[in-house]
Symmetry: C2
Subunit: 304 residues, 2 copies
């Protein structure tokens, strides 16, 4: 074991816990990445045992990777950004967790994504992945918009685009709306022609199922399909509304994150595109910034 | 037991099997209603055992009510309109059923609703309940549009309106869209103020959950709320498109059925409103027409 992370120097663990996977990173006091780990879902919606098992398993990987012992878990000051923690009941469940760490600071996955994107400084992010949501962190204030879940929220997200695609295709197949290139693209991708077979593919669809088909809307729009272009305009409108609301708080930077972000960016108004800057760091490194700031705020509070 | 339904006269059983309940009626050869029965879901989506148990239980009720014995089940010529039977796999499962009846003729719940509405004659129906769909029966041809399921289909239905209401309320609470009276109406009905509490009510929402809130959209629209009025216009647009498509087939009559039909009717274009006529009979009596026509078609086929 090197002197740099000997028994008395502080160690930080950053956790990005999402609905499908958990990424963690161990960072030294002098900001060196020592080890990383990856495991399954760490979202309390899947149950506390699944979530905490995922966190411990990814942490053990990261400790091994850093040349540390499992016992060193007790030395880690942890920042955890977890999906679902905005629900008070899940926040309470995690606050009550008898965790094995030195300290555990909890926030949402959206918050650490924002802290990572702007290296712990003020800024705003919009996540456009399977779901969609936005957050601005300015002068210690957090403004959160969007999200809320599917199908009534997560507007302009991958799930939203995929569901709208199916909606428009079915209207067209029923001769209730004009023909659209999206019909052929969807039939091709699923390798079925028949309406009933198309629909049966979505009978128990999750947001992830729908999101898989979102890129087809952009393919059709780029080929000049009117219906697809209307959908892209509508989706971009939702993201634009989120962006304007966040920019009202005057964040110094704005980043778009998530698989659909590069596809939607060209359809946003020019003045918003100009303000978008790349995310500087990952969410799990954002969780490290959160851990540092939370523990130093705590030290200040204790010394007062 | 009266002579009217003695051992050798034909008896008909009409079944309207939906996702939440099963209604049956026994009718004599001279069109007298002899008995009725009601039970749980008869939709094969819930499993064949649940569906067939519901059918048998409602039939036993109707036989008792008619002063007939359970053994008389073997005398019944049955017409059954079942939700989900448009899916080939479920049609096959019901066709293979070792049923206790004299004969069993199968079709969709939509088809028997249409036959009931027009007393077995040609015509068209649009059902606007928890879901939405339309059918025209003209010169032996069936044209079916809409339906397909929620959230991508069932446009303009109760589930669609309830989901759109929540969508608009959340946009408004996030300050991404103008204020709407629907927010107060929803908060009142659920007796919660907080956004998180509102959303958590819909976390595992079914189409039925959403449909419960559809009437609030109409209340707000009637009070002059712009957002609600836009939704009603959009929903009425979907139903209008279905109506125009069905009227293309020149059905002699058009009926609107389902809980939301009276609410939506005033928002349809005048030329469509003028063509709407009340449904003459219930779907289960439509199933009786279907049983009579199917069995006489069979007799003709056998005698050729």
């Amino acid at each position: 074991m090197s002197v740099a992370h000997g028994g008395d120097t502080p160690l930080y663990l950053g956790i990005d816990g999402g609905g499908s996977k958990c990424r963690v990173v161990i960072v030294s006091a002098d900001q060196q990445v020592l080890g990383e780990g990856l495991s399954g879902p760490a979202n309390p919606l899947r149950g506390m045992k699944t979530a905490t098992d995922s966190i411990i398993s990814a942490t053990q990987q990261a400790l091994t990777c850093a040349g540390l012992a499992f016992n060193d878990m007790a030395r880690l000051t942890v920042g955890a950004g977890l999906a679902g923690l905005n629900v008070p009941q899940y926040f309470k469940m995690f606050s009550d967790w008898q965790h094995p760490f030195k300290a555990l600071h909890l926030t949402s996955d959206l918050h650490i994504a924002c802290m990572g994107a702007h290296q712990g400084q003020d800024g705003a992010v919009i996540i456009i992945g399977t779901g969609s949501c936005g957050l601005a962190a300015v002068n210690g204030q957090l403004i959160e918009v969007g999200g809320h879940g599917f199908p009534y929220g997560d507007n302009g997200s991958g799930a939203w685009f995929g569901m709208q695609l199916l909606h428009k295709v079915l209207l067209s197949l029923d001769q209730l709306a004009p023909a659209t290139l999206m019909t052929e693209l969807l039939q091709q991708q699923l390798a079925v022609q028949d309406t009933m077979a198309l629909v049966s593919h979505f009978m128990h669809a999750t947001p992830t199922t729908y999101a898989r088909f979102a890129p087809l809307v952009f393919t059709a729009a780029e080929a000049g399909d009117d219906t697809a272009l209307q959908l892209v305009t509508q989706g971009a409108g939702f993201i634009t509304a989120i962006a304007r609301r966040l920019l009202n708080a005057r964040p110094p930077r704005l980043s778009l994150i998530g698989g659909l972000a590069p596809k939607l960016l060209p359809y946003l108004p020019a003045d918003i595109q100009q303000q978008v800057t790349p995310a500087l760091q990952t969410p799990e490194l954002g969780a490290i910034w959160f851990a540092r700031q939370s523990s130093s705020a705590q030290s200040i509070a204790l010394s007062l």
